[in-house]
């Protein structure tokens, strides 16, 4: 596949703290890459770098075609005092589209997204997220960058959004997105780039990675220092909660090690179950009764 954009040896520093370490990453035309990792792993900074909204402290960002048409979908989209058609009209004109072309494009997108043209202050989160994606798609970008596109949406809105993104992908747009929702990874992504403390922990095609099957663990009685040590296990993915009970998501193949570590540290396991929707076709949890749904 033809490479569209690449990052070579990118470091990003904010003052003394290094947020991204030596990132080598690229995306090809039509590819969809999910960027995963726990909060603070550097996902948003990497996305800003990809979209051209942040400059590397070291290393380079190379566009295969110049200028590369990039659409960016921020995580939060404010409820502006505009109707979607007004707002999109302004954005289209800023991008240099003529009035006629902009009107046609906006109408086509309104039909695709099935969005009512009401004041954005009256829109639901799902409707605002549609406007957010529409503004990014106005000029048919070659690369669409989305920062947690399903964040805060209810299940039906999530399904609708996934359908829209699949259609965008089908039209040949390269997509990269930071995600927490496994549903989005399994239904859309070709490749996963996993970040951990600003470094790429894993970057590979999803069908070759059955290890993506994940387990959710709930436990109590573990000292905070031990929790931090747990994060150093290669199979640790992210925390759902560090409270009581603590809840974490881990790779299935590392579950035994992590459970053993928790028990040896004096903790008690409350619940161990497959993380909903995180299974790839390569792993079938229904055949694993020794782990799935187990409680102590």
């Amino acid at each position: 596949m033809q490479e569209l954009l690449g990052l070579n040896g990118v470091h990003k520093r904010f003052g003394k703290s290094v947020v991204l370490h030596n990132i080598d990453w690229s995306i090809a035309r039509g590819e969809c890459v999910a960027i995963t990792g726990s909060n603070g792993a550097g996902k948003s900074t990497l996305l800003h770098m990809i979209a051209g909204l942040a400059y590397p402290s070291e290393g380079s960002r190379i566009e295969a075609v110049s200028p590369l048409r990039v659409g960016y979908v921020p995580e939060r989209f404010p409820a502006l005092r505009f109707r979607p058609t007004e707002y999109l009209g302004y954005m289209a004109r800023i991008q240099g589209m003529d009035k006629q072309e902009a009107r046609k494009r906006i109408q086509a997108m309104l039909n695709l997204f099935q969005l009512q043209d009401i004041m954005m202050t009256l829109c639901s989160k799902g409707m605002l997220q549609k406007v957010n994606i529409m503004q990014a798609l106005l000029r048919q970008p070659e690369l669409l960058v989305l920062d947690e596109p399903l964040s805060g949406l209810d299940e039906s809105s999530q399904m609708e959004m996934i359908g829209i993104l699949r259609e965008v992908k089908r039209q040949g747009t390269a997509i990269t997105m930071s995600v927490h929702e496994p549903l989005l990874i399994t239904s859309l992504a070709d490749r996963e780039t996993r970040l951990r403390l600003g470094r790429i922990q894993r970057d590979g095609m999803l069908e070759n990675e059955p290890v993506l099957a994940r387990m959710k663990l709930e436990f109590i009685g573990v000292h905070p220092d031990t929790m931090t040590e747990l994060e150093n296990n290669r199979g640790f993915l992210y925390w759902i909660s560090r409270g009581t009970p603590a809840s974490m998501v881990v790779e299935r193949q590392a579950t035994d090690d992590i459970v053993l570590y928790i028990l040896q540290s004096g903790g008690s396991l409350i619940r161990l179950e497959p993380k909903d929707g995180e299974m790839t076709s390569a792993v079938d949890f229904s055949t694993g009764p020794e782990i799935a749904g187990g409680e102590t």
């Binding site: 990039v70 302004y90 004109r93 991008q95 503004q135």
Partner: protein, 242 residues
Amino acid sequence: MISMIRYLLASYTRSYRYFAPLAFIIISVMLIYSYRPNPIMSSYAVTSALLFIGSAWLGLNFFNHDQGRQSMLLIIHSGKPIRYYSAQYFTAALLSMIFSLFAVLFPVLFGMFDKPISLLEFALGYLGHVALALLGISLSVFFQFGFIENQGRAAGLLIIIMVISLAGQTLQQKIPSNIGFIIYVLPPVSTTIDLFMHIEDRSAISTFVTILYSYLYSFILLAIYLWTVCRKDAAALIRKVG
């Protein structure tokens, strides 16, 4: 650029955040002319000083009005950061020019002066008002939350600089002569006000140079601003709190 300015104007006016600085400017001008007759250029000196304060307030208010939430998108849509930041500056400058016109026209339309105003006085009055309004806008860009996140501190610093700028001529007489050069680093607000106060004593060249220097100072501030802001990550301009 024009499309961006139109969007920014629509976005700002719909936010209703303009109300406080606008009210300040209108009420101040109306108070100054609450009685008649008034001397032309001395009155313009006072209203231009007020416009300097009002424009700095308006600028800070305008640059912070959407808390940077749209700036990343506008930069991407416009293609280059400099297009967005220039459009943002020119939108604020446009608003201040409209307010300058109001400050200069109001006493003329309502016959508040002690004698009929000449075209030269009107032109000088307008150019002087715009010069100080632009100085206010050009100063305020450095105090938006993209530069100083704590806006309480930013407002305090801006007020201090405005006060020192307004008192520049007086300060020059008070400070030791070996650091007198500092006065030329400050925004040339007091020199422009002084020009209006004593315009009859000034030559045409002195008048021209004083006003031109104000514009040049704003232009230098704008150049420094654009140079600085285009090197910042657009993502850093979003307000992290609030």
